[in-house]
């Protein structure tokens, strides 16, 4: 198969094909950036949600958990934790989060452990707001189940 392809043909496929793919990628990037605010309900992204994201980053939560399927696989997915542990009710979820974060680490032998991050009640609420906002993102019907 490769005998019939010359070096200059291969070179042209590289430059031509690469440029073509890159141009399509750039065009779709512009469109995606245009669509993300609506798909993620950016209008509901309050100051508390943004503070929650900062806490998420500053405590390296993604080092154990996945969020919208990305991160480490040591601890549960958190895009749907609002539905799973809060029954999609904000008051219930926030109360649950206050209790949960305060109880860490759980004294269950050999269970995977979550550290105690010593967050204030207000910070835990920020984190809850961030997770509630994330649960409403349109991720093409992912996750497939409330547990996954």
């Amino acid at each position: 198969m490769t005998e019939r392809i010359t070096k200059s043909m291969a070179k042209n496929i590289y430059y031509g094909g690469g440029t073509f793919a890159l141009l399509i990628f750039i065009a779709l990037t512009f469109d995606t950036v245009h669509q993300i605010p609506e798909r993620s309900n950016e209008v509901n992204m309050t100051e508390s949600v943004v503070l929650g994201k900062k806490l998420w980053e500053n405590n390296n939560c993604v080092g154990c958990h996945t969020i919208v399927g990305e991160g480490a696989y040591y601890a549960p997915e958190l895009m749907n934790v609002f539905n799973r542990r809060g029954a999609s009710d904000e008051v219930t979820f926030k109360a649950y989060m206050q209790g949960w974060m305060a109880a860490q680490p759980l004294a269950v032998p050999d269970r995977r452990k979550m550290p105690q991050f010593n967050l204030s009640n207000e910070e835990v609420d920020n984190l809850s707001d961030f997770l509630i906002w994330t649960s409403k993102v349109n991720a093409n019907d992912w996750p497939p189940t409330i547990e996954g």
Binding site: L22, N58, C61, V62, G69, Y74
Partner: protein, 455 residues
Amino acid sequence: MKYSSQAVAKPYFIFALVLLAGEILFGLLMSIQYVYGDFLFPLIPFNVLRMVHTNLLIVLILFGFMGATYYLIPEEAERELWSPKLAIITFWVFVVAGVATILGYLFVPYATLTEITFNELLPTMGREFLEQPLPTKVGIVLVVVSYIVNVSMTVLKGRRTVITTVLITGLLGLAVFFLFAFYVPDNLIMDKFFWWFTVHLWVEATWELIMGAILAFVLIKVTGVDREHIDKWLYLIIAMTMVSGILGTGHHFFYMGAPEYWLWIGSISSAVEPLPFFLMILFAFTMSRDRKIKHDNEIALTWAKGTAVMAFIGAGVWGFFHTLAPVNMYTHGTQLTAAHGHLSFYGAYIMIIFTVISYAMPILRGRPHGNSKKAQNVELTSFWMMNIGMMGLTLALSAAGLVQIFDSRVGTELIGFMESAESISSIFMIRAGFGLLVFIGLLTYFYSFFVKEEA
């Protein structure tokens, strides 16, 4: 060694291997903590172990690429390196920055680390693989820029070959796409979208160019095949890489908040992604069959063939398993991703570094015909130990991923993540065992450097 400045590659190679030992060691610690949650807790929580494990991997690959480049560029350009002194300075800067960062991870709580490293000025921390504090990220930019300048100046003043052109294109891509590590929008979804510009376009596009160039260089040296022939193959491989890999980024945009059309574009493009790796196998084996010389360093050719095969299995086959959108719906964010990640990084990037070290290191140590037969046999043993170990742990992680999917995502009687974690703990024991085999394989590899030369 034809040019004395090639010697700057040596410390880069040695340090890359030292970091690799650390990387695997932390992997082993994680695999134990996966089963025994109290192991090392709260001394080193899982997120810290993982950060050290993945960051060491990235940094060791960069060290390996730099060593490979500094070795091959003078020979390709047919002149001494533009500034060997700069290459040594950047080596030490990178070592100090790297070691300081790892010590920071281990001994300072991450939240404190964000405070003392001025993360508030330009928040970039706390994102997977890009956890490095701001000063480290800036340091990486400076090191990479000085490296590219050094390499480019050498090539501009010397002979230009397809290998150097491809290599420099890859390096420029590496530098440009790293800049997205400094862009962290408040919107998590926008943040994720651009995060992939660094992560995917490094490992599935620009790094593949670098890998292809290094592989082509080693194959020319150990097979003596005509350069025209090698060049054609190299262009063909990187053409397929670019055509599939750039739009293949779309396979990360299925279920993270990006629009629906990525389901199609990502699936179709990334279905082609195994092709460049398959071409690499054909390339390595055809060149080996058509070789004009029989180089005494046989193990270097073994690694070259090995990296092509293992990269195809890890990146190509294991990538394909979950790259189609309807499948990815169930596999997204499970241990199957970890399985693919492990074998592809090992097959493509760790093994290409072994390949170039196996070829270049004996020459740098004054053994132009390669190491002694005895040392090569020890190295061959380590080759198989590491390959079998990596294959075994990949199969174990895949099995764990499948159990997770059937536990929590398919069917009616679903169990939660933590319950599922208990049902895969025995699989994780097996995974840890294979991990240990990889580590012993690496120690065997290290031992091959110390086998006495026959008189």
